[in-house]
């Protein structure tokens, strides 16, 4: 995640936005989700939940119900890709500050709160399995 954030930070604003839109286009919504998986404070109606995977790992699932939640979709796709096959310890260690590193500092507080909530949920799901 840190490497990805560094790579995005190196881009200018336009290229970073294009890169994030491309990531969002890879997002695959998982429409069947438990209500308790709702990300608190995320106005894009995002959901994060997990299940155990072989070799002591875990699989994360994501849903974004707001069709205009493109930043939420980009973050969900990134988190899905970065956590696939990763150790539970490394998922639990994903820092909240990664949102600003990925998206820059132009986001509104509300938007940042929602996206940070998603990162917290991901780390929280991992911590439950440590």
């Amino acid at each position: 995640m840190a490497t990805l954030a560094e790579a995005l930070k190196a881009l200018d604003r336009e290229d970073r936005i294009d890169a994030l839109i491309s990531v969002a286009e890879r997002f695959v919504n998982e429409p069947t989700h438990p209500e308790e998986a709702r990300v608190p404070g995320c106005e894009s109606e995002a959901f994060v939940w997990s299940e155990p995977a072989p070799n002591g790992k875990m699989t994360l699932h994501f849903a974004v119900e707001n069709p205009q939640g493109i930043s939420a979709m980009a973050l969900a796709a990134l988190l899905k890709e970065v956590t696939a096959g990763a150790s539970i310890q490394s998922i639990a260690a994903i820092p909240e500050g990664v949102v600003v590193e990925l998206f820059g500092d132009e986001l509104s507080m509300g938007k940042t709160m929602g996206l940070t909530g998603m990162v917290k949920m991901v780390a929280g799901e991992a911590k439950k399995r440590l």
Binding site: F103, K111, T112
Partner: protein, 288 residues
Amino acid sequence: MSTDIAARGYAHPEALVSTDWVAEHINDPDVRIVESNEDPLLYPSGHIPGAVEVDWTRDLNDQLRRDYLDRVAFEKLMGRIGATPNTTIIFYGDRNNWWAAYAFWVFQLFGHTNAKIMDGGRIKWEKEGRELTREVPAYAPTTYSAPERDDRTNRAFRDNVTQQLDRSNPLVDVRSPQEFTGERLHMPDFPNEGALRGGHIPTAKNVPWGMAIDQDDATFKSADDLRKIYEGSAGLSPEKEVIAYCRIGERSSHTWFVLKYLLGYPNVRNYDGSWTEWGNLVGAPIEK
């Protein structure tokens, strides 16, 4: 579900246009369509053909002080989007036109009254399956002459809020009930949008901004329904001066639009200092 704009009983129905109207005027040289969003990825990912983007942080805010752009910067912005004083500006955006209303309000500080909001915003356009494009249009730059920014007619400062309290005139707090009661304050890492104290300005009525929107199709509710909300429940009245506020003045610009244009309140202002100023003021009265 929405009815025709003209049938909804608004004081100034001309302040709104439908998605049909916009579709018919995409190539109208006298019309400039402007998208303003909270999410910076939305416009580049696809927008109404011919629409330009006006970004609330980069275009509308002063980049140094906490204030809005000045006359020179506004003239430059209008020149960049190829607008003249006669151009009809149509605003639309995400979040039920929250940011579109904010941009509309800033444009009114410079007297560009030839402006309207697309009813239903971006979500309605999308749900209707209308065309979106990634092509960013290039318009021939114009020379736009604007008056100095008028901070008295539609904008309120903290001294105006204090006077409002002294005169027992109404305040409408359009934040969420959790913010109104002080249960939710701000994000710890965002002191620039946060406040040291939670609660609301004394006597303010809480009417969350989104109550003005029909949840089925994101259009504005009818004038009768809006009166029930703002005059019935909240006790506002067009006879009194009203000041609306939220956290930084964006959500309250949406309510300002509703009260001024849809219900025809003659004296309504937006306190853009809002809770991030009031909740940090030493000695300012607060209720929870």
